[in-house]
Symmetry: C2
Subunit: 339 residues, 2 copies
């Protein structure tokens, strides 16, 4: 039971491989009689011919595959992003491979296996890994790439959202509820995406003339959020509201709040960046600012596919309005708590 080859189709249709190839890829530079064309298509259909991408990849530059690097597959937010990217990639005729790009040694292996191995044509990078290491790898072995939800200097292309306005929205929401003593649980230091959030949030606070919110850093995990939240609440027990840099961390912050005998939302309001179904099911349901994951991923794929089609790299900032989803974790500051 062998694989059906192009040659089989060609023989069945009574033409040469070359003609079969051109007809099936409808090469405009070839003139061919309509009935010959029909015979070839019929033969391909009948034999259930499927072109062999590996062979094609050898003949033409390009494998028809893109890879997406995410920092953590066990973070649902990235799963979501991959899903959208996958869909967008299919629409452009590519298949999308997902790979985890942790800080550990093996991360480079993944990169090596995929990129240097020539298995893929382009890279979508949502990795948290310090950009310079990645950029160096990319310089050593250039491959079209776009950073998504990160803006990296020296990168070919970046697609980002307006973090400033999102962080401002978080601030405004808390401020409108009467909160003045704010705190921020940020992602790990040195990660570009978290720094933007932090900077914008602090800037909004400064602009509004409220005290500069203390910041605690931690990994993008529940455990990371718990540790950072615990530290923040211990060192700054007077904060009444916290802006958390990711949903995963917010779960930990909620936990830390309970540990510190704070009741959310009564004695501590919590708002997180990122939205996923799970936010609705937490206790209390979490107020969030939704990141437009779908459009972000799709735009990244579009840019990358355009680059592969010869277009110059372009960066873009999505102009989607940040979407505040008010749930039960933020309430207006209790009267008796006000200073």
């Amino acid at each position: 039971m062998r694989r059906v080859r192009l040659e089989d189709v060609a023989r069945a249709a009574g033409v040469s491989k070359a003609t079969a190839s051109r007809v099936l890829n409808d090469d405009p530079s070839l003139s061919v009689r309509a009935d010959t064309r029909a015979r070839i298509h019929a033969a391909a259909e009948r034999l259930e011919y499927r072109p062999h991408p590996v062979a094609r990849a050898l003949a033409v530059p390009g494998t028809g595959a893109l890879a997406m690097l995410v920092p953590e597959l066990s973070n649902p937010a990235y799963g979501e992003m991959i899903r959208f990217a996958y869909r967008a990639a299919r629409a452009r005729g590519y298949v999308l491979l997902a790979a985890e790009d942790t800080e550990e040694q093996e991360a480079d292996e993944a990169f090596t296996a995929l990129v240097e191995g020539g298995r893929i044509d382009g890279l979508l990078i949502a990795s948290a890994r310090p950009a310079n290491r990645l950029l160096e790898a990319l310089r050593r072995h250039p491959v079209p790439h776009v950073f998504v939800n990160r803006s990296v200097e020296g990168a070919l292309a970046n697609v980002t959202v307006d973090v400033e306005s999102a962080a401002r929205l978080a601030f405004t929401h808390l401020a409108q509820l009467g909160h003045v003593r704010l705190g921020h649980v940020a992602g790990p230091r040195g990660v570009q995406s978290t720094e933007g959030r932090e900077r914008a949030f602090l800037a909004a606070a400064t602009a509004a003339g409220v005290p500069l919110p203390p910041v605690a850093h931690g990994p993008f995990t529940p455990a990371g959020g718990a540790a950072a939240g615990e530290r923040l609440l211990r060192e700054h027990p007077d904060v009444t509201a916290v802006f958390v840099s990711s949903l995963a961390q917010a779960i930990g912050v909620l936990h830390a709040a309970r540990g510190a005998a704070r009741v959310v939302p009564e004695t501590l309001s919590v708002i997180a960046y990122d939205d996923l179904p799970i936010a609705h099911f937490l206790d209390p349901p979490l107020t969030t600012i939704a990141l437009p994951i779908g459009p972000l991923a799709a735009e990244g794929v579009e840019i990358l596919a355009d680059m592969l089609a010869g277009a110059p790299p372009r960066s873009s900032v999505l102009d989607a309005e940040p979407d505040l989803r008010v749930r039960a974790s933020t309430v207006s500051l209790q009267r008796e708590e006000r200073t």
Copy 2:
């Protein structure tokens, strides 16, 4: 800036492509002088030669890539599984690609693109998709595969854990706490992995002589767990403890309990199958039975790699002891609640 080819290495070392290839793959059937061998290796090193897997895949059967099909990338449990599988695959010299295999149309596309496209050598399947559709696709286009955490009749190989003893452990834990009126939130109907859990849990209850626990089915998501939990608690308000088929659902069940004015654990104990860091950070921290995800994934990869190396398919049941992680969501039945 062209890619370094085998031919470049050969020329630099003053030998032919053939010899270079044999030396670099250390083909034992070739006798070659030590200094020639050294020259070739030195040249490869100096030129930073990286073999081109695509070209190699065309020449020999096998691409060096494995794919893992999971039902949902946004479920962290599968992210975890992919991570372990990835590691195990690397150790065997393969790269692992992750793909989502939902019930939707595009699922077949993913399968088609990867398998029929000849991009991969074998398939790890943790998919929830009804096995018959997958099996049919596999029959149409045979490829070595192993089902992980599922036991599918007609499949080449299955690797599973002892669900019976895990479900029995859940039952025993609840029974020892004095619970008699139990309930079960199961996964979607028709999914093999959830049915095993359900069957074993009900069997344990029957064997112990307690009333047959009512069962509510739902998808493996927080929303699915919430809906099923709500239904279960509404139709059977007398249950005092619930066994939930997955961690994702348990988050929803916790939510449903609050909606039904039940306090976990005081008036409702909850135990879930699956363990992830997040379980510790929920409110209350969730008692779970840990699935040995790592060993499961690793064993799946081993079996698959062995098959690809020519070994006959073999199924295996991991004999890891089910691991009960008691946290705060299960307590002994309150005296005043006892019947």
